[in-house]
């Protein structure tokens, strides 16, 4: 077991290293440099002065040297400082965004699973009924609707016309002066639309997946056996079939780990939510290399972690996988 874990750790760190090398190369291959956005076409700056600034940021050095410097810092758990005029440490920039994105995404994931699973199960159990057809239509509409468009429509309806919900942002302007309960409601009311929009698209995919998985399980012999035993349909579906059909869904949940901190750019921009998605896009446009690298590293780390967790979970759930691992 120790050997297995050691090997896993070794492989993971090598993968991690390869990812950062690739990422570093790719973002530096994109044309443009951070200095450009700060100074190009902006008043007057002598070429010498520009060169000085490039040296200041270490951009005059060959790429492998820059990477080495970055890696050295990373080993000391330092992601460096942003190139933008706020000059903040990258970690601090990321840290102030994580809570918002994480809570938004957690709420979205809960909503998706709580709705998609029953929806999928019902659709599978009542295959070819009106309910199944209706959910199919609903799901395809969900797939096809651009979320920024739906978001704007809902904002016009609930925010401008009816005035029931705030249009954008996280908090009202007078938030500081509200009572704690009112603050909570204020925050929640700001999140209703973004969470709904965020969940809408995901819901479609997952409920289809659930339906498929359920249909497959229902065809199995042991379900027929259970039915033959004269068990009530309710027990057959919800005890025997659902448990097995949920396995692949649980795996998807594990793999959505990195997604939890990667915000949706569209939802965050339209609703003016200061999250990770906006940070990522803006740092790419500004060619703020330290921030981009920081985000990529954390994202890659979580993806690897999610994969490993999934591996381990498979092992726990299905003994056959564990055995194969040991013998190879």
């Amino acid at each position: 077991m120790i050997a297995y874990v050691t090997r896993l750790a070794l492989v993971s760190s090598l993968q991690m290293l390869a990812i950062t090398v690739l990422a570093f190369a790719v973002i530096h291959l994109a044309p443009g440099e951070p200095i450009v956005l700060q100074q190009e076409l902006q008043a007057t700056q002598s070429p010498q002065q520009k060169q000085t600034l490039r040296e200041l940021y270490g951009l005059d050095k060959p790429l492998h040297v820059q990477y080495w410097t970055w890696l050295n810092r990373l080993v000391r758990v330092d992601l460096g400082r942003s190139f933008s005029p706020d000059g903040l440490p990258v970690w601090e920039k990321i840290r102030e965004r994580i809570p918002v994105t994480l809570s938004l995404n957690l709420a979205e994931v809960c909503l998706i699973y709580l709705t998609a699973v029953p929806l999928g199960v019902f659709a599978a159990v009542r295959r070819h009924t009106l309910f199944d057809r209706l959910t199919t239509v609903f799901v395809f509409i969900g797939f096809a609707t651009p979320d920024f468009w739906l978001a704007l429509l809902l904002m016009i309806l609930f925010g401008v016309q009816l005035g029931w919900l705030p249009i954008s942002g996280l908090r009202s302007l007078n938030w500081e002066y509200l009572a704690p309960a009112a603050q909570l409601w204020d925050l929640a009311s700001h999140l209703i639309l973004p969470i709904f929009i965020g969940a809408f698209g995901g819901l479609a995919g997952l409920s289809r997946f659930m339906r498929g998985s359920m249909l497959e399980v229902i065809r199995q012999d042991y379900i027929r056996t259970a039915q033959a035993k004269g068990l009530p349909e309710r027990v057959v579906v919800y005890k025997h079939a659902l448990r097995n059909a949920l396995l692949p869904i649980v795996t998807i949940l594990g793999l959505s780990l990195p997604g939890l901190i990667g915000g949706s750019v569209i939802v965050e921009s339209v609703f003016a939510i200061p999250g990770m998605g906006q940070l990522a896009v803006q740092s790419v446009f500004a060619r703020d290399y330290p921030v981009v690298m920081g985000l990529l590293t954390i994202g890659a780390g979580l993806t690897l972690l999610g994969n490993r967790l999934a591996d381990v979970c498979y092992g726990i759930v299905d003994p056959r996988i564990r055995v194969t691992r040991r013998s190879d």
Binding site: A30, Q42, S46, D86, G159, V160, N174, P274
Partner: protein
């Protein structure tokens, strides 16, 4: 949306336009009718929306519009632009220019204090100047200060600056935001990057508003400074909301959650004319400080020929672009200046839309359609080129499409290539790897445009990217900088505009209107050549209309 104080003399209008946001509004319940007015009163909050977050609170090292707007409210300069764009004192009570026009002596206002109570003195000005000059300072505005030969703190309220040669843009350059020496000089001397100091997060200035709070990507809050030296601002609070989507800004404006925002031509003309909106908002329209142009790479032999450039100028219908793309909310540009400034003239050669004349000129230059395929040729090569412009500016892209169609009509085959901004600048502009571009220039408060048109400024990181060179223009640009005498400068810059118009190094297209909606409860707004916000500290909400009481 803050007073025009320190303006970098050239801004890429691309970034400016990207910062423009939309707005409009259906108010569920109508606000007080606009006829209600009252005496000026202190209080209330103005909520503004910005499409981009500020990037820092030391504006001297930022280059985005949002940071400059906020910086203008927190900091002061020695001088500022008044309603008619003339310079007036801010931290300076007065100034003298020596006879040889090489020395400026500023007499500073006495009794001005920083927001933390420390007195403001000439040492602060001296420090700011040294910081701007420091090669390690990541600022785009060093050039003006590199022209300075020496400075002198004569006494705490007198600051003197000498130049090698008379340098006319100098005076305006002292509209620069003055930074607090008592907080920053010591760390700066120790070599600390000032971006990492508390000043960049919780700035101390001398301006009309004090810094209260900055929540990244969410909001910036400023509070009126009660002892501001030009008088306490009427509005108690300025709240800048960061809303990265222009459609959302427009909805927030319609719902009256935002008090002031820019409008697109479409929103201005077609989406804000219903009663609920006009009751709640006042719409303002005035010429912006920028112009758009079609520029050529003059190293390309086809465009080096003046007859070709003139032909293209005749082939493009500016009226059609203004009506079709900007819905009439712009003026035709005849040169690189904004109409209404003291140096502007329209008594120059113009190139009205005349496709026959265009064809004639191209014929003179040897371009004829010899094989009858509808495209002109010379020496067997068809006249074909690509217009490049930046992504995210639909006005420019549509302008390119109209130009493409008009040039096709006279036998020139045009492609359009739209590129993301950073890549556009680095790959095409910086390397001079383009045939034609559609871009804009932001205009400052001084007619000096040496950096843009002088033949010595064609290097890779310099601004004369079309590689224009004309000895006559060079001479005029040099002369224009070397005197403070307004009459003499006026003559020089009029001549400059005349030569430029004849030469058509670029086809000047249009000067767009700035379009803004402001809540009608806010009063005291006086649109002027300097724009809207020049008297921002005098804006007020009458007591009975005040909305945010705490």
């Amino acid at each position: 949306m803050a007073p025009a104080r320190f303006f970098p003399r050239w801004l890429p209008a691309g970034l400016l336009a990207a910062a423009l946001a939309g707005c409009g509004g259906e108010a569920p319940s109508a606000e007080a009718p606009r006829t209600v007015t009252g005496p000026p009163a202190h209080g209330d909050t103005i909520v503004e929306a910005s499409i981009g977050d500020i990037s820092g609170l030391i504006p001297n090292i930022t280059s985005d519009g949002a940071s400059h707007s906020v910086g203008n409210l927190i900091y002061d300069g020695l001088v500022r632009a008044d309603r008619d764009l003339s310079l007036t004192g801010e931290l300076a009570e007065s100034w003298e220019i020596s006879k040889d026009e090489r020395t400026i002596t500023f007499h500073l206002k006495s009794g001005v204090r920083w927001h933390d109570g420390a007195p403001f003195t000439a040492r602060d000005v001296e420090f700011t100047y040294r910081y701007m000059r420091d090669p390690k300072t990541p600022t785009a505005y060093a050039e003006d200060f590199l022209q300075v030969a020496s400075t002198e703190v004569v006494d705490p309220s007198t600051f003197r600056v000498r130049y090698e040669k008379p340098y006319a843009p100098a005076l305006l350059s002292w509209a620069l935001w003055v930074l607090p020496a008592h907080l920053l000089e010591e760390p700066w001397r120790r070599g600390v990057d000032l971006r990492t100091t508390p000043q960049n997060r919780h700035p101390i200035g001398t301006g009309p508003f004090r810094f209260q709070e900055w929540k990244a990507q969410e909001k910036v809050v400023l509070l009126a400074s009660p002892d501001y030296h030009r008088g306490r601002p009427y509005l108690d609070r300025v709240l800048l909301r960061i809303i990265p989507d222009s459609a959302t800004i427009f909805l927030e404006l319609k719902a009256r959650n935002v008090d002031m925002a820019g409008l697109t031509p479409l929103q201005f003309r077609r989406q804000t004319d219903y009663p609920a909106f006009t009751r709640s908002f006042e719409k303002y329209r005035y010429l912006s400080n920028s112009y758009a142009y079609l520029g050529f790479n003059l190293k390309d032999p086809r465009f080096a020929d003046r007859r070709v450039r003139r032909a293209l100028a005749h082939a493009i219908d500016r009226r059609e672009i203004i009506e079709g793309v900007l819905l009439g909310l712009a003026q035709e540009a005849v040169g690189p200046y904004k109409p209404g400034t003291w140096w502007y003239t329209d008594e120059v050669q113009t190139f009205p839309y005349d496709p026959d004349r265009a064809k004639e000129l191209l014929g003179e230059a040897g371009w004829r359609d010899r094989d009858g395929d509808g495209v002109l040729e010379r020496d067997g090569k068809p006249f074909r080129f690509t217009i490049r412009t930046n992504q995210g500016n639909s006005v420019r892209i549509q302008t390119a499409e109209i130009i493409q169609r008009r040039l096709k009509a006279i036998g020139i085959d045009v492609n359009i290539h739209v590129v993301e901004w950073a890549a556009f600048i680095n790959t095409f502009i910086r390397k001079r790897d383009f045939e034609a571009i559609i871009l804009g220039w932001g205009l400052g408060l001084d007619p000096d445009q040496y950096e843009i048109w002088h033949s010595s400024k064609t290097g890779p990181d310099q601004l004369n990217h079309i590689s224009y060179g004309n000895p006559e223009v060079d001479q005029l640009l040099e002369n224009g900088r070397r005197t403070f005498n307004q009459e003499r400068r006026k003559a020089i810059y009029r001549e400059f505009q005349r030569v430029l118009a004849e030469d058509q190094p670029v086809v000047f297209l249009y000067v767009p209107d700035a379009l803004t909606a402001v809540s009608s409860r806010i009063q005291g707004i006086e649109p002027a050549p300097a724009g809207l916000a020049w008297n921002f500290i005098r804006w007020y909400v009458p007591r009975e209309l005040q909305r945010y009481t705490r």
